[in-house]
Every structure is written in structure tokens, then in C-alpha cells.
Amino acid sequence: MKSRALLLAALAVLGAFLVACKTPPVPAVVNQAIDQEKELWRAEAAVYVPEEYRVYLSSLRLARDKLIQQKARFGWFRNYEEVEKDFRAIIETGQALLEKIEKEKALRSSAGAAEVKALREQFEKIKNFTLTIREADDVRRSLTRGEVALREAEICLEKQKLTELSGKIRIVNIYLDQAHRFLFSLLARYADEDQINLWRRWAEETVAESREKRATALVINKLEKTLTVYKAGKIAATYNIGLGKYGLSDKLHAGDEATPEGKYRVVRKNPQSRFYKALLLDYPNEEDRQRFSLAKKQGLIPANAGIGSLIEIHGGGEDSLTGGCIAVEDSVMDELFLEVSVGTPVTIVGSLKSVAELLTWLKGGRR
């Protein structure tokens, strides 16, 4: 009886003791930190702030281990003060990381948008250029593949998938570089120093003649697709032009659809040509005949091919594709008809750019 009473009393004391000891709750900051870690993961912290994220995760793990230590204690002896401090510090760090990620994303988005815009301009420039280049199929095929990748890059930008963006831009640049390589192989002549010097000499001689005689002269630049009017050695006007399908090649024979290069003169003014008005040039000149004979001897042109003729500056629009002539807008032909007379020098050059300038121009200033 006595022992039973003692036992019951001991159990009652034990029960009261257990009830009286309140276990302190786990601080709310613990769950907040765990939620924050998910937010950082969603924000791709591992991509944008990898080292800081690694340190953050390490700190979080240490804090969780400390929490485990406290939770393992008997309720009455638990003290979450240090744990709470640690988790608060982690949350502060996490918040700073989130802000840093947002800034980094904004920077990358802005830089990505600028790069995509510059690439698109590059593509447009080369595409327009290919309209006058012989055998430009490979260039355009590469450009089209690059444009598909460029559109994918734009979609990444729109959806703010910035980690995928750099990969897409890399692919775009691969196709753009491929297009450039094809282009350079087609424009080998335009990178020949001797050829460039010859063209420059022709242009200088023509401008000098215009200055000395205080007369009008025309200089046509095939690469830049421009016709410049000189009066007394000074530029009076510059117009855009259209060329033959293979306009950038130097004309060799009839039907090659190339635009000739050399020093010519206007021999006839036709006010009612098939293409509005026309200025007939004295192609072929002596150099053209010599080149033609040599090429025929070397078997470079068909045996029955003629040298060609009827190379004109005519109307019909600057976006025309001629058989070798130089096309301008009808309104420009009206201007030229007033300025030009029979005997006016017309010098046609491939380019006046140096090789370095050519490369920079083609690449749009890209490194």
C-alpha cells in the first residue's frame, strides 16, 4: 500500500515536471531561410553567383546542424538564440544574393539584346551584299541557318532564359563566321593590295582630270554600290546604284553579267532607252580587249564568246539586277543627263578600301 502510494506520487511529480517544462519552438526564421534557398535556386544562383551560392549553402548546412544539436537536447535545455542569429544572418546574405542576381540578369539581358541587335544588322548587311555577288549561295545558306539560331536567341531573351542565350549566340556567330569565310573567298580580289592600288590610282587620276579641266567626272565604286559625281575635282553628289548579278566581278566577256572595271567615257546620251534614259560607255577599252584575248588564249572563256558591249548607266531603279550595266533611279538619271556630256570620264573601280578597312566593313566593326 505504502509503496503503491509512493509510486503514484513519483509518477505525479514526473508528470507535473514534464508539463511544466515548455519546449521552446523552433524559430520561424529557420523555415524562412529554407524557403529563401528555394528562391535562390529558382533564380539560378548557381549560374549567376556560383561561389557566393556555394558559401551560402555551406552556411545553411552548418546552421541546420546547429539546429539539430539544439533539437536533440532535452526540451528544458534547448536554446535557439545562437541558431536564430545564424539563420537571420543567412537570410540577410540570401537577400543580398537575390538582389545581386537581379542586377546581373538585367545586365546580361541588356548586353544580350545589344548583341542580338548588332548581329541582326550584320546579317542584313551581308544579305543585301550577296545580291551582287557571284555564287553567293553558300553565304546565304549560312546566313539563313544563323538567322534561325538568332531568332532562337531572341526567344531566349523574350523569355529571360539568359543561361541559354549565350549558347545560342555562340551558334549564331559560328554561322556568321562561316558566311564571312565564304564571302572572303569570293572577294579575294578586293583584298589584293596591287589591285586596290590600281583602283585608287584610276580614281585619283579621274578626280585630277575633273579638277584640271574644271569639268564633271563620275567615279563608280562597285563594292559600296555608289556613283559619285565630281565637279572641278570636288564631290557634288553621290547616288546608290544597282549592278549585274555578278557585278563585283570584272567583266570579261558577253553574257557574264559582270560590270567592267576601268577608265571609260560617255559616248552617247540616249533619252529614250529601254530603261528610261541611258549613258552609253566606251566599253570595251584597250585594256579590256587585251584581257579578253589573253583569257581566250588561256581557255578561260568559251571559244565562241564575244567581248560584249552596250555597257550603260541607265534608269530603272537602284535595286535593279542588270546584265552588267549600272542602274540608278530615274530621277538620278534626270540629274546625270543635265551634268554629263559625251566625253565625260566614267571610272569604274572595285573598291577604294584597304584590306583592313574591308575586313572591318564586312564584319561591321566586330572584333
Binding site: Q69, T130, L131, S142, T144, R145, R151, S320, L321
Partner: protein, 198 residues
């Protein structure tokens, strides 16, 4: 003597009560980990990344609970076992959803591929009808080369599908469809231009 025996029995009873859940739930831990790994292998990291992240977070919480109990004198793994069992069940449920998500992504990629094909064929048909003349010659040559480039890109869609990169395939197909439609628009404009000049 009787009292001593009673106290001894009581003591044994109390100790066994507290130690009945004292074994680490090793099997449950391994099962939960294996289930999460299986869900990941199935493709949860691609098709249900958010849900997989939550699963991993729950697994970490469960393992923390195991570690907490392990440090106690009177260990009790009941809660930890429940948490691990939930992780296992959730992982298995998530794994079961992945094939359907994959199938949906694959179907979306195939649909996008078909739409790109249709857009490309439409552009080719339109180019066939485009009038050939001095003013359109350069454009037609250019468009022909462009469509060849699009065909080259189109082949990449199937390569992406074969690699199960369905999102990549869909993105590429959408770009090709857009570009083909743009070329069709340009061809149409060129046709109208020729008609206008006549």
C-alpha cells in the same frame, strides 16, 4: 522484495517503451533516396524541376530529423519514418507523371515540326510561282538559297527530337516556321511589285 521486483519491472517497461523506436530507419532512408534518384533518372530534373527540388528539400528535412533523433538519449524515429515514407511516396508519384509530361513535350515538338514543314513547303511553292524577270532575278536566287538554308536547319529539328531535346526542337521549329513565313511574305511582295510595274 515484492516492491523491488515491481519497481524493476516498471523500470524495464519504461526503458523498453523509450527504446522501442531506437533503431535508425536505414531501410526507409535508402528507399527514400532511391525513389528520389529514380524520379531524377526518369527526367524529373527536366520535366518537373520544381517538384523535384521540393522532394529534395523534404528528404533533407527528413534526414535532419533522423540526425536529431540520433543524438538523443531516448531516440524516437517515428516522425522521421513518416517523413521518409512521404518522400518515397511523393517521389514515386512524381516519377509516374514524367512519361506523360515527356510524351506531351514530344507531341508538341512533333506538331511544331509539322508546322515548320508546312510553312517551308508553302514558301517553296510560292517561289515556284514567282515571275522570273530582270527585276526579280536576284531576289529569286537569294530566296532559293535561303530556303536551302532553312532545309538545312529543318534537319536539325529531327536530330533534337532523336536526342529527346523536345524543348530545343520546338524552339527551332518555331524559328524556322517564322523565317519561312517571312520569306513567303517577301516573295509575295516581290510578286506584287512586278504586277504593279506591269
Amino acid at each position: 522484495m515484492k516492491n523491488a521486483i515491481k519497481l524493476l519491472v516498471l523500470g524495464v517497461f519504461v526503458v523498453s517503451l523509450f527504446s522501442s523506436c531506437a533503431k535508425q530507419p536505414t531501410q526507409e532512408i535508402n528507399d527514400a533516396k532511391a525513389a528520389v534518384e529514380a524520379a531524377t533518372k526518369e527526367g524529373a530534373d527536366v520535366y518537373a524541376a520544381d517538384e523535384l527540388k521540393k522532394l529534395n528539400a523534404d528528404l533533407t528535412a527528413a534526414l535532419d530529423e533522423v540526425a536529431t533523433q540520433d543524438k538523443k538519449f531516448f531516440k524516437k524515429f517515428t516522425t522521421a519514418k513518416e517523413m521518409l515514407a512521404k518522400v518515397k511516396a511523393d517521389a514515386e508519384a512524381l516519377k509516374a507523371t514524367i512519361p506523360a509530361k515527356k510524351e506531351a513535350a514530344k507531341n508538341a515538338a512533333l506538331t511544331a515540326q509539322q508546322e515548320a514543314r508546312a510553312s517551308l513547303d508553302e514558301a517553296k511553292a510560292l517561289l515556284e510561282k514567282a515571275p522570273r524577270g530582270k527585276g526579280t532575278k536576284a531576289d529569286i536566287e537569294a530566296f532559293t538559297a535561303d530556303l536551302k538554308g532553312l532545309e538545312d536547319s529543318f534537319a536539325e529539328i529531327q536530330a533534337a527530337i532523336d536526342k529527346e531535346d523536345y524543348l530545343g526542337a520546338s524552339s527551332k521549329a518555331a524559328s524556322i516556321k517564322e523565317k519561312a513565313a517571312s520569306i513567303s511574305g517577301q516573295i509575295q511582295a516581290a510578286i506584287e511589285k512586278v504586277k504593279g510595274k506591269k
